[in-house]
Amino acid sequence: MDNIYTPYLMNISDVTDEAPGVRTFRLNFQNEDEGKNFKFQAGQFALYSAFGYGESTFCIASSPTRKDYVECTFRQAGRVTNALSELNAGDTIGFRGPYGNVFPIEEWEGKNLVFVAGGIALPPLRSVIWNCLDLRDKYKNITIVYGAKTVADLVYKNELKEWTARDDVNLVTTVDPGGETPDWTGKVGFVPTVVEETAPDSKDTIAIVCGPPIMIKFTLPVLEKLGFKQDKVYTTLENRMKCGLGKCGRCNIGCTYICKEGPVFTAEEISKMPDEF
């Protein structure tokens, strides 16, 4: 019988420093067969292990359309992420996943998409953004509103440039007041305000929001005001997890296990959950 707790062994093939304390690993399966059989969909997460320190949960940040590798972006915070950040290209990490549900991107086909992300919450959306961009003709307008505290805190700076350059993507970047640099050309202001200013048309549009709780709290009313129905607004949740498999018993909000029924939820689903965030 397979051990559900055994991770794949992966090589770190590339390390990118995104922002202070934020880093992206590109990972390749050490066993090629495992790599060939591996499949995931946008929205899913995994448990990454720094051997000797333990496992940490975060989303898969690369698109399922890029099949040769998996990428993850994490911020140094606890024991495991600190240990991960010590690693270099060539080192081994463990990967257990993919777990959780997915963004229903097929349902979104033929619709406009608005992605709203704040700070270190762009990585969960990056997977689905690239997924949709790689299938560009299936979707109508794609708008991305992304904000961070300061210019330095913006992640995926190269990709932001790439998106800016593309004429089939409307990228709006913003930084919190005081976080701008002299040569900053984006907006200055908090994400909810910028969303309101950008005022994407809610008709036939799906909004995908991801960010710190405070940002979500203020963005949802803005979207509502813009006419977005709760079931057209998606977000991802995170909670402390140990197994990722619905067994260890801690990631539930009320009856809902984030690891199994999530992490992707509509605003409607979330509004029905008890207040235990």
Binding site: T6, G52, A77, R240, L245, E276
Partner: protein, 344 residues
């Protein structure tokens, strides 16, 4: 299959089990405790108790268990799968409530994917239960749809029919197989209806009223009122036969390590603490609510089972005398409207 077991045959039974390659786990007195633990001789077995202090859980979900080990050489890691954790054993003399916990927990350990550490042990271990001939005021199996002679989870159920004789009933093929393996130890069933000596466990609350109340009262002042005295330890969850929450940690030296699955409990404040310092269940009332909700609402919704077998251990060990059946009694008799209190 029905048989009887004479007490005088116990020796042969235990020796027989040993001969057939079984490890025997049975209640044994250890100072102030009655512990389910490995025994060698029938004499070691203790009978005259209500309940063992530890539950059967630890033979399927040990308090600490290696789920993999690895060696680190420079940049390379090699993983070694643990082996030999499922040892052919018989748990002899556990209580029906303990046995009943196992099929309940099978559900979560089989949810979508199978936890082999649980399942392989389940396969390797045969449960021979002895129905309760006595109980105490903490017992409430009858309130959670079980009974002192409940059969759920047992492979073989023994019921005392006289001072030196047990009625032996097999409940599963595995149980039947075991009895057959040791056929000579058992006698034929008595003719007529045997006098089953089974304790009478008082019914404390109407379980049917519990979930409807919980559905309505996620926010209620009773959570805080009842749990002010809770000290936030893990005693209740660790002695509970159905509490199965666990933690996964790495323990290692520089070059080799183990990934370990340890018991964890929802009453600890660390249980849900994010690395950011945020805690979705930051106060004891929230944690106490989680425990009750998990057992009597969430698990029911997910797996159609109450996550409680009424063994009463949590209430016996609670350092602050938090009594779960008392809580449920309050809930099941609360006729009033929900009393929402504002959240801080």
């Amino acid at each position: 299959m029905e048989k009887t077991l004479k007490k005088e045959k116990l020796n042969s039974l235990i020796t027989g089990l040993k001969d057939k390659g079984y490890k025997t786990i049975a209640p044994k007195k250890d100072n102030n405790l009655i512990t389910l633990c490995e025994i060698q001789e029938a004499d070691e077995i203790h009978f005259d108790h209500v309940q063992t202090n530890n539950s059967i859980k630890e033979y399927f979900l040990p308090k600490t268990e290696k789920i993999l080990s690895y060696t680190i050489e420079k940049t390379k890691v090699s993983i070694e799968e643990p082996e030999g954790f499922a040892v052919k054993s018989v748990v002899f003399g556990s209580r029906p409530c303990d046995a009943a916990s196992l099929p309940i927990m099978d559900k979560v350990f089989n949810w979508d994917c199978t936890d082999k550490f649980w399942i392989e042990r389940r396969e390797a271990i045969t449960i021979v239960t002895i129905a309760c001939d006595k109980c105490d005021s903490y017992c409430f199996c009858t309130s959670v749809c079980l009974a002192p002679d409940a059969k759920q989870g047992s492979d073989v159920l023994l019921t005392k029919i006289s001072d030196d004789e047990y009625l032996v009933e097999t409940e599963t093929e595995k149980g039947e197989g075991l009895i057959k393996e040791l056929e000579t130890v058992f006698s034929e069933p008595p003719s007529g209806t045997p006098d089953r000596q089974v304790a009478t466990v008082e019914k404390k609350f109407e379980i049917d009223k519990v979930k409807p109340w919980l559905d309505e009262n996620f926010v209620h002042k009773i959570w805080a009122e009842f749990s002010t005295k809770c000290i936030g330890c893990g005693a209740c969850t660790f002695v509970c036969p159905t509490c199965h929450c666990f933690d996964i940690v790495d323990e290692c030296t520089m070059s080799k390590g183990d990934r370990v699955k340890n018991w964890d409990g929802c009453q600890f404040k660390m249980f849900t603490l994010h690395t950011s310092g945020h805690n979705p269940r930051s106060t004891q009332d929230q944690r106490w609510r989680q425990r009750i909700m998990h057992k009597f609402k969430y698990y029911v919704e997910k797996f159609d089972n109450i996550l409680c077998v009424g063994c009463g251990r949590c209430s016996r060990v609670c350092p602050a005398d938090m009594n779960i059946s008392e809580m449920l009694e309050i809930i099941s008799t609360d006729e009033g409207q929900p009393e929402p209190v504002s959240k801080e």
